[in-house]
C-alpha cells in the first residue's frame, strides 16, 4: 500500500509506524502532545498512543534533551522535538557533553538510541531564530549522526532508520519544503540507510552536492544550465555525519568539477569539509577549483531580506556555469 504524503506527513507516519511497532518509542517536546506540534508533525499521536508515550513538556530545551539521555539509558527510545533548530542551543551542552559522549565515556556500557528532531532552514518568513541552518555545529561533534532528508519518501525511511539506530541522531527537517510536494510513500515501515547519499540526477559535466531544501533549488538550476548544454550530476548528501564520501568523490572523479550548495554560512560550513575531502581524494581529477554556493557569513536576515540570503536557482546556475567554463 502506498499513499501520497508531503514531508511533514511523512514524519508523522514514520512516528506512527515506529510507535506501533516498538513500545519503547516515546515522543515528547513543546506542544507535541495535545496540539500535535507547531508544524503538525506529531498530530494524532497522543490520541493514538496515550499521554504516557506522547506528551508535552515544560518549556526547556536542555531538559527535553537531558531527560532523553536518562530515558535512553533506562531502556526507552525517546524521539524528542525541538520546536526550531534556532532553539536547540539551550540544549547544546546536553547534546555535546552527554548525548554525543555517553557511549564512549562508558566504553559501551550505555548507548543512547535517541532522536532529536528539529525543523531547520529559512524561507518561511519567520521571526528571528526560526530560520537557522547550523547543521555544521552538530556534524563537528564526534558521536552524533546528523541526517537531513529532502523528500517525503526519504524522510520516512530515514526517520525510521534514525529511531532504530542504536546511536543518537540529530534529524533536521527542511521546513521550507515541509508541504512543497507530495510523493508516493509506502504505508508500512521501511528504512533507508543513514550515511548513504543519493544521486538525484546523473550527469557528466559537474558534480553538485547539496542537501535538504536546497536540493529542489539545485534541480531548478540544473534545468537552467541544461538549456546551455551543461549536464550536472546532483548528489543529495542526506546524511551530513557520517558523510558518504565515496559517492561524491567517485562522482567528482568522473566529472572533474564540484559545486557545493548549502543554505548555512560559508566559513567552516559543511561545504568546506566537502571541498577538503575532494582535494584529498580526487585532486588529480580536478579540472576546476571545487566551489561553494552558500548563505553568507552573516546573521540570517529577517523575512524582508531572506530572499537575498538563501542561494537562488539563478545564483547556483551561474556558479555551475563558471565552474564548467573554468
Amino acid at each position: 500500500m502506498a499513499n501520497k504524503l508531503n514531508i511533514v506527513e511523512a514524519v508523522n507516519q514514520a512516528l506512527m509506524n515506529e510507535m506501533e511497532l516498538d513500545e519503547r518509542v516515546v515522543v515528547y517536546g513543546e506542544d507535541v502532545g495535545v496540539e500535535g506540534g507547531v508544524f503538525r508533525a506529531t498530530v494524532n499521536l497522543q490520541k493514538k498512543f496515550g499521554k504516557h508515550r506522547v506528551f508535552d513538556t515544560p518549556l526547556a530545551e536542555s531538559a527535553i534533551v537531558g531527560t532523553g539521555v536518562g530515558m535512553a539509558i533506562n531502556g526507552l527510545k525517546p524521539v524528542v522535538e525541538l520546536q526550531f533548530m534556532g532553539f536547540s542551543y539551550p540544549a547544546f551542552n546536553q547534546i555535546i557533553s552527554h548525548v554525543a559522549r555517553m557511549r564512549n565515556r562508558s566504553r559501551g556500557r550505555y548507548n543512547l538510541p535517541m532522536v532529536i528532531r528539529a525543523p531547520y532552514g529559512g524561507g518561511i518568513r519567520a521571526l528571528e531564530h526560526h530560520s537557522e541552518s547550523t547543521e555544521a555545529l552538530y556534524a563537528h561533534i564526534p558521536g552524533l549522526k546528523v541526517v537531513i532528508p529532502s523528500t517525503p519518501y526519504d524522510t520516512k525511511g530515514l526517520l525510521i532508520a534514525a529511531i532504530r539506530d542504536p546511536d543518537p541522531v540529530i534529524f533536521l527537517e527542511p521546513k521550507r519544503i515541509y508541504r512543497a510536494f507530495r510523493q508516493e510513500v509506502p504505508e508500512e515501515a521501511y528504512e533507508l540507510p543513514i550515511g548513504k547519499a543519493k544521486i538525484v540526477e546523473e550527469g557528466e559535466d559537474v558534480t553538485v552536492i547539496t542537501w535538504g531544501a536546497m536540493v529542489r533549488d539545485v534541480q531548478k538550476a540544473s534545468e537552467m544550465v541544461k538549456e546551455k548544454g551543461i549536464y550536472p550530476e546532483i548528489i543529495d548528501l542526506r546524511t551530513i555525519s557520517p558523510m558518504d564520501r565515496e559517492t561524491f568523490v567517485e562522482s567528482v572523479k568522473k566529472t572533474g568539477r564540484a559545486v557545493i550548495v548549502h543554505e548555512a554560512p560559508k566559513t567552516l560550513g559543511t561545504g568546506a569539509e566537502i571541498v577538503a575531502i575532494i582535494n584529498e581524494k580526487a585532486f588529480l581529477y580536478l579540472e576546476a577549483p571545487p566551489t561553494r554556493v552558500t548563505g553568507f557569513d552573516t546573521t540570517f536576515p529577517l523575512p524582508r531580506g531572506e530572499m537575498h540570503y538563501i542561494p537562488s536557482p539563478e545564483r547556483i546556475a551561474k556558479t555551475i556555469e563558471d565552474v564548467v567554463k573554468f
Binding site: 516515546v26 504516557h52 508515550r53 513538556t57 515544560p58 526547556a60 536542555s62 531538559a63 534533551v65 537531558g66 531527560t67 532523553g68 539521555v69 536518562g70 530515558m71 535512553a72 539509558i73 533506562n74 531502556g75 526507552l76 525517546p78 539551550p90 551542552n93 546536553q94 557533553s97 552527554h98 555517553m102 557511549r103 564512549n104 565515556r105 562508558s106 566504553r107 559501551g108 556500557r109 550505555y110 548507548n111 564526534p142 558521536g143 549522526k145 542504536p166 546511536d167 550515511g195 557520517p242 558523510m243 564520501r245 565515496e246
Partner: protein, 360 residues
C-alpha cells in the same frame, strides 16, 4: 513525616547524633544491626583511606588530578545506603562513598582518576551512571531515568547528586522542575560543602537555605546535618520511600564541609582561613559516628586497626594493579563512538597505526 516537621526555609538542621556522637533524637536511630553499623563505618573509613592514599600518590606524581571527599563521607554513604539494589545512582564527581555503597569496584574508580575511560565502564548489573563533569547536567539524566520508570511502570528510584555550586545552574532548575511536573521518582541530594572551588555558599545563592528551593518546584525539601550519617540516611530513606510510592521527587540539602581541596589542582588556603577549617575538624563525620559506635559498644580499637589495615592493603594493591599498566589502546579511542565505526574513523585509525608502524 520529617519533611513536615522541618521547615526548609529555616536554618535548622535535622540531626540524630550531635558532633560528640551523642543521640539527640532517640526515636530516630535507624533500625540497623551491629553488622550494618560496622559496614557503614567501614565504608566511610574505606572512602577516607582511598582519599588519603590517592592524595599521597598524587603528590608523588603517580596520580593525575583527584577530587577528595574528606569530610563528606556521611553525606555520601548515608544517602546512598537508602537505595535498594535496583535503584539508580546518578553521581556528580565527588561521591566516592556512594560508589562504594553501590558496589562499583575500586579498580573502576582508580582507572577513572588515572585517566582511562574503562573506569567509567560500570559493570553490568550495577545501575550507576559514570562521573558527570559538567556541573548539574546529570540531574536531567536522573529526571529522565525517573520519567522512564513511570512510563514503564517500574518502581525503581533514582538518587542524584549535585553540589552547592551546581544549584546555580539552569540544569538544576530544569531537572527539578521536570521531575516535579512528571512526578519522577528522584531524590536530589545537594552536598552543600560550602564551596564551589573557591566561591563560598553565600555568594552562590541569596536563598537562606538550599533546601527551600524545593518549595518553588512543589516538592518537599529538608536541610539535614550532612555530617550525621543517621540524619542523612533517615531523610534519604524517607525520600526514597516517598518516590517509590509514586509521590514524586524530594530535595535534600546535606550541610557538610569539604575539609580538603576542591581537587589536587587548587590550594584552599587562598580562599578560606585555617581557623574556619579547624572549626570544622571536630565535626568530622567519621569521628562522630565512631564515638557513637564506641558508646554503643559496637566498635573496638582492635577491630578498627585491623579493618584499616585490610582496607589500606586493598587500596595499595588495587592502585598497583593499574599503575603503569593502564594506557589506552589506540583502537579503544575510536571504537566506542558508534556501534559501527564509520569509514572516516576507520581511515583515521588506519592512518595513525600505519604512521606508528613507520609509515607506508
Amino acid at each position: 513525616m520529617r519533611f513536615e516537621i522541618y521547615d526548609p526555609t529555616e536554618i535548622k538542621h535535622y540531626r540524630v547524633l550531635d558532633p560528640n556522637g551523642e543521640v539527640v533524637t532517640e526515636e530516630d536511630i535507624p533500625p540497623f544491626s551491629d553488622e550494618e553499623l560496622l559496614y557503614l563505618y567501614k565504608t566511610m573509613l574505606f572512602s577516607r583511606i582511598i582519599d588519603e592514599r590517592t592524595l599521597s600518590y598524587q603528590r608523588q606524581g603517580r596520580m593525575l588530578t583527584y577530587a577528595p571527599n574528606i569530610g563528606q563521607e556521611a553525606a555520601q554513604v548515608g544517602s546512598a545506603y537508602a537505595m535498594e539494589d535496583n535503584d539508580w545512582f546518578v553521581p556528580s564527581f565527588r561521591e566516592l562513598g556512594g560508589w562504594l555503597i553501590k558496589g562499583v569496584p575500586l579498580k573502576n574508580i582508580y582507572l577513572y582518576w588515572y585517566g582511562n575511560e574503562w573506569g567509567s565502564h560500570i559493570p553490568e548489573g550495577i545501575k550507576a551512571l559514570p562521573v558527570s563533569v559538567p556541573i548539574a547536567s546529570q540531574l536531567q539524566h536522573a529526571a529522565g531515568i525517573g520519567m522512564a520508570n513511570n512510563i514503564k511502570g517500574e518502581k525503581d528510584v533514582v538518587l542524584a547528586y549535585v553540589g552547592d555550586g551546581g544549584t546555580s545552574q539552569g540544569d538544576f532548575h530544569e531537572a527539578l522542575n521536570f521531575a516535579a511536573v512528571f512526578k519522577a521518582p528522584v531524590v536530589f541530594v545537594v552536598q552543600n560543602n560550602q564551596y564551589a572551588i573557591s566561591v563560598p555558599r553565600k555568594e552562590q545563592t541569596a536563598s537562606k537555605t538550599i533546601a527551600q528551593k524545593a518549595i518553588a518546584y512543589g516538592m518537599p525539601g529538608i536541610l539535614v546535618d550532612g555530617n550525621d550519617i543517621f540524619a542523612v540516611y533517615n531523610a534519604s530513606k524517607e525520600a526514597v520511600d516517598r518516590a517509590r510510592r509514586g509521590e514524586g521527587p524530594t530535595l535534600i540539602e546535606a550541610y557538610t564541609y569539604r575539609l580538603g581541596a576542591h581537587t589536587t589542582s587548587d590550594d584552599p588556603s587562598k580562599y578560606r582561613d585555617d581557623e574556619e577549617v579547624e572549626k570544622w575538624k571536630p565535626k568530622d563525620p567519621i569521628l562522630r559516628f565512631k564515638k557513637y559506635l564506641q558508646n554503643k559498644g559496637v566498635l573496638t580499637e582492635e577491630w578498627e586497626e585491623k579493618t584499616k589495615k585490610e582496607l589500606d592493603d586493598q587500596v595499595v594493591s588495587t592502585f598497583e594493579e593499574i599503575e603503569n599498566k593502564s594506557d589506552t589502546l589506540i583502537e579503544d579511542i575510536f571504537k566506542y563512538h558508534y556501534e559501527t565505526m564509520p569509514p572516516h574513523l576507520e581511515e583515521q585509525l588506519e592512518e595513525y597505526k600505519s604512521f606508528l608502524e613507520g609509515g607506508k
